[in-house]
Symmetry: C2
Subunit: 121 residues, 2 copies
């Protein structure tokens, strides 16, 4: 269990951003009830994992609210198994779509490069 500064160093995500994500409901740290002198929040390794997941999902164009849907399906007890599977299947389909788009964009750029290299532009 680590404090926010340590978590930030480990993941490369600024402290402000981590707090913003936490306030957005993407994860929750824990306070140690035996400590009464402060209200410092501790984060486990699963939070670091979640942050890395968030970073990657963002990099491929998912919004925070889309990411939150997945994270909720990941661990929220209030959501039914059926609803969770539904969300995850939807995300998997979106990922396939993104892979297709990524291949198309790649082809387009490769063609553009080919044209420039061969003076066809």
């Amino acid at each position: 269990m680590k404090l926010i500064h340590q978590l930030s160093k480990e993941t490369g995500i600024p402290i402000g951003t981590i707090r913003f994500y936490e306030k957005s409901g993407l994860f929750k740290g824990t306070t140690k009830k035996e400590v009464t002198t402060n209200n410092y929040v501790y984060y486990g390794e699963e939070v670091a994992d979640k942050l890395r997941f968030i970073q990657m999902a963002k990099a491929v164009g998912f919004t925070l609210s889309e990411i939150k849907e997945v994270v909720d399906a990941w661990y929220k007890k209030e959501i039914s198994r059926k609803a969770k599977i539904e969300v995850l299947d939807k995300k998997l389909a979106q990922i396939e779509e993104k892979m297709k788009e990524l291949r198309t964009v790649k082809k387009q750029i490769a063609l553009c490069k080919f044209n420039i290299e061969n003076g066809l532009d």
Copy 2:
């Protein structure tokens, strides 16, 4: 050559967004100098192509300024061949990175789904 309303219908991109993209320098329509009664702007098929490219690039997490770099390498005469290739190679590397991230995110979600289906959550 079509007007903005037609272009919007064909691509599914709102007129306001098309104007915003044009102002951002992502493409340029043409005015017919023989027409003096108005200053309507016409768009060729290559603009529709560019819009479709923009949509896909956005969907996989590229920002408008990143997309603009590619679009400029695509057709700007002021940019040297060498600089263009450099930009395109950088983008191709970014695309590989995104593909890797997409596969990781997919694996993570598939594992999450497996756990839920098998009651391991």
